[in-house]
Structures are given as C-alpha cells and as structure tokens.
C-alpha cells in the first residue's frame, strides 16, 4: 500500500508540474463548460436568484470539474503518446491505476476553477447572492462530487489507453454527463426513457446533495443523506469496475502491442 501511495503522490506531483509548465491548460480544459455556462446565464435571465445560483453557478462548477477530469485524462494520454513516453510509463512496475488516480484527482480539482469564475461573474456583474446554509454539508457534497468525477475519469482511463481518438470520445462523454446528470436543470425535464441513464451516474446524486446543502440543517435531512449514500455507493462500484478494466486493458495491450499507435 505504501508503494502505491508513493506512486499516487508522484502522479499528483507530476500532473501539478504539467499544469505549472502549461499555465493556460486549465483555462483551455474548462473553456467549453464556461461558454455553455454563459449561454445558461442568458437562458436563466428571468429566473429567481436562488434558482440561478443552484443551477447556473453550481451547475457550471460541476461541468468544469467534469470537463477537467475527463479532458485532463484524455490529454494526458494523448500527450504521452505523442511524446513517446507512454510505453515507459506502462512498462514500469508501478500500478497504472494509481498513476491514473493521481492524475484524475488533480484534473477534477482544477475544474473547480469554472465554479469560481461563474460565481465571481454572478456576484460581481449580476448581483446574485450565494448563501450556503450548511457549509459542512456543502463541502462534503463537493468533495464527493470531485471524487465521483475523478473515479469516472479513472474508469475511462482504460478506454483512453485503447483508442487513438481519445479527444473525439472525450467530446461525446463530456456532453453525456452534462445531459444526464442534471447539471443545469433537474432530471425531471428529461423524457422518462432517458432517466435511467441519470440514475446510474453518481454525480446526479452528488449534485442533488450539493443543492440540498444550501438549505439549513442539511446534515440531518434524510434526502441529503440518501443522496450522499447513493453517490458513495456508485463511486465504489465505478472504482471496482475501473480496477477490473485496468487489468483487462493492460493484458489486451500487451498482446496487441498497439500502445504507441497514434
């Protein structure tokens, strides 16, 4: 375990260095959710301030985290392919899962930048007041959302190792979560036949928890606790799937020897 944590810490450090070396990277990773959030600002122009804060401000934060977690993972993989370092990373005795976990976590945290950007625009230019009645509940829900996005990024990492068109899939997958997790609207807006997709996505529940946490007494609210529980449960399922898929992918890549294909 100690060895794995060292690998994890090294991956976190390397990803932070990557960001420091390319300071505009977080900006480019989150520019799409930022632009989508600006469109939402116009569409929500007549909504009550509380609805605006719950859906536009918090929703843009979730979109930013997701775009960053997903985009970061796929870009990391594409970069390693282009730089020719992917084979060296792959053939080290360190676990690929822990390397990917370190990367995913940093990328997801960096995505919080969109939340800060939209919150700032909303407070400074639109006069929206952001009041969080249960800061502990809010923080817990945000941390779980980051974890959920990071674990989904980890789960998809195996897939990005197999494809040479990671950016194409990244475009599709980013929008998949925007549609189904109810980031900018409640999932009740979706047709009935589409809702099952929402139910199996952990961020659907963590975002509900975040929205409930702005009300007083959220920690004692059974709805809030149920959403937190479902987020944790689904995140654990993704983690197990990620662990299993990583093994399958590594085995497949060693046989096909297609890792360096760009």
């Amino acid at each position: 375990m100690k060895h794995h944590l060292q690998v994890f810490r090294a991956a976190v450090r390397m990803t932070i260095w990557d960001y420091l070396a390319q300071p505009m990277w977080p900006f480019w990773l989150t520019i799409t959710p930022f632009a989508f959030a600006l469109v939402a600002v116009f569409l929500y122009r007549d909504a009550p301030p509380k609805t605006f804060a719950l859906y536009v401000v918090l929703g843009s934060g979730a979109m930013g985290m997701w775009a960053s977690a997903l985009g970061g993972c796929s870009f990391s993989m594409m970069q390693e392919r282009r730089w020719g370092t992917i084979v060296y990373t792959f053939t080290t005795p360190a676990s690929q899962l822990w390397i990917a976990a370190g990367r995913s976590l940093v990328h997801a945290v960096i995505g919080l930048m969109t939340l800060a950007e939209i919150a700032l625009i909303s407070v400074l230019f639109l006069g929206i007041q952001l009041t969080i009645a249960s800061p502990v509940a809010f923080l817990l829900a945000v941390l779980l959302t980051i974890l959920a996005f990071a674990v989904i990024g980890l789960f998809l990492n195996s897939f990005f190792m197999l494809t040479r068109s990671a950016s194409d899939w990244q475009n599709a997958l980013s929008r998949f979560l925007y549609v189904f997790c109810g980031v900018m609207y409640p999932i009740s807006v979706l047709p009935d036949w589409l809702r099952p997709f929402s139910y199996v996505l952990a961020p659907t529940w963590s975002l509900k928890a975040i929205r409930l946490s702005v009300e007083p007494g959220a920690l004692g609210n059974s709805d809030y606790l149920m959403n937190i529980g479902l987020t944790l449960l689904l995140t654990m399922v993704y983690l197990l799937l990620a662990w299993y898929l990583q093994g399958v992918t590594e085995h497949k890549l060693r046989i096909s020897a297609e890792l360096e294909r760009i």
């Binding site: 520019i31 632009a35 600006l38 469109v39 939402a40 569409l43 007549d46 194409d168 929008r175 925007y178």
Partner: protein, 263 residues
C-alpha cells in the same frame, strides 16, 4: 477555368483520403452522430426548463444549424495544424503550388462535411425535438446550409493561418467556435446580448445563416432570404481575403524565423 475546377476536385479527393483513410468509422460516427445529439439535447432540455416548451424549436434549429460551424470552422482551422503534426507542412509550403488552391482543396471537404452535420442535426430536431418541416422551403434551406458552411471557411482560414505561427491552434480554434456559439443567436436572439457585443455577432456569417434557416423552415422562399445570403457572401469575401493575407504573412514570417515546424 475548367482545368482549375478539375484540379480542385482531384486535390480535394486526395486530401479527403489523406484525412479520413486512417480513421476508424466508430470515431468518425461518434463525432458525426453522437456528439451533436448530446449537445442538442443539453440545450433543448435547458431551454425547456428555463423558457418553456414553446422555445424548443428555436433552440433545436439553432443548435442543428450551428453544426456547420462545429464541422467547417474546426475542420478548416485544423488543416495547417494537421500538416504540422504530420510533419508535412514544410514540404507542402516549400512547393510553388498556388496557396489558394491548397487551401480551397482542404476546405471543400469540410464544407460538405459541415452540410452533412447540419442535415443530421435537423433530422434530430424533427425526430426528437418536435420541429415541424411541413411548411419548409427545402430549396431555400439547402442554399442557406451551403452558404452557411461555405462562409465559415473565411473565419476558418484566419484561424488556420495562426497555426503557422503558434505551437498549438486548438485553444484559438475552440475559443473561436465558442464565441460563435455564444454570439450567433443559436440559443437566444442576438438582441438579448449586451449592446457592446452585438457588432461582433453581426460580423459572424452564421448569425444570418441560423436566422435564415429558421425562416426557411417556417416557409420563407429564397427570394425573401436573399439579403441575408448576400450579407453572408460579403462577409465571406472580406474574411477570406483577410485570412489569405494573414496566411501569406505568417508563412513568410515562419520561413524567415525558421518556426514552421515548431510544435
């Protein structure tokens, strides 16, 4: 003239083969069918929640037609960056070939691809988002889509030129696309933008294209849309000329500084 057209078609076919021959169908089909459906769904459901069901058609058509930008602008903008990545840019730009022909042959593929993208988007609009085509003037709609796609190559050329001088053009390309997405009246009318932003909207050919497509779907004839189409063609000429000069300027500059292959 006929010789030039034949040459253009021959070059376009070669470029098309070079661009897509290596790509797996699954990847291309994802970009062509799945991404547009998801993006349209997101904005249509967002509009359903915020503005009510009455505005669904407005948003669905806007998002369908903007797919020409997703394909044409991005495709054209990436032409030179693609050559750079593949290590063929230096070889290409040291030939005496006509630069306009080099560019046009690469753009033609994306113009057609852009129209195909918008048609797919409009099919989704009809099948899933309740847009009715009962009154549509299909000839007018086809001309609008063609001119919308063609006119975005001017902006694409400007962005593509920058890739001769920058390490990576994707950030500039993404910003250009997202600005168009925000300003071209796709999800809400241009009149709702702050006054100081509106002049920018009117410099984007797609602003007129999206509105003309909405009118064609509602039954407007080609004659009724002619003024919008002429404005789009005027903007195309202006932006295309500007793009061409920027392209030749950066080509000279990159050759002088030896940065053509900088990645």
């Amino acid at each position: 003239m006929i010789r030039q057209i034949k040459l253009l078609i021959r070059m376009s076919v070669t470029v098309f083969t070079a661009i897509y021959a290596w790509q797996r169908p699954a990847s291309y089909l994802t970009i062509k069918f799945i991404v547009p459906f998801l993006q349209m769904s997101f904005f249509v459901y967002l509009a359903k929640f915020t503005l009510g069901p009455d505005k669904l058609a407005y948003v669905a058509i806007g998002n369908a037609v903007q797919l020409v930008a997703f394909n044409t602008l991005m495709g054209v903008a990436m032409t030179m960056a693609g050559e750079k990545w593949n290590g063929t840019l230096q070889t290409l730009l040291t030939t005496p070939a006509n630069r306009l022909m080099i560019f046009a042959s690469r753009a033609l593929v994306h113009v057609l691809d852009g129209i195909a993208g918008a048609v797919i988007g409009l099919l989704y609009a009809g099948l899933f988002f309740g847009v009715s085509f009962a009154q549509t003037d299909f000839l007018a709609l086809a001309v609008v889509l063609f001119i919308s796609s063609l006119t975005l190559t001017g902006l694409g050329l400007i962005v593509a030129s920058l890739s001769l001088f920058t390490r990576t053009v994707e950030p500039i390309m993404n910003t250009a696309y997202l600005l168009i997405f925000l300003l071209a009246g796709i999800n809400f009318p241009v009149e709702q933008l702050p006054v100081w932003l509106r002049p920018l909207s009117y410099l984007i050919p797609l602003t007129y294209g999206v509105e003309a497509a909405r009118q064609a779907i509602a039954g407007a004839s080609l004659a009724l849309l002619s003024s919008s189409l002429l404005i789009m063609l005027g903007l195309f000429l202006a932006e295309g000329t500007l793009g061409y000069y920027i392209f030749t300027y950066f080509e000279r500059l990159s050759k002088r500084l030896g940065t053509l292959e900088m990645t």
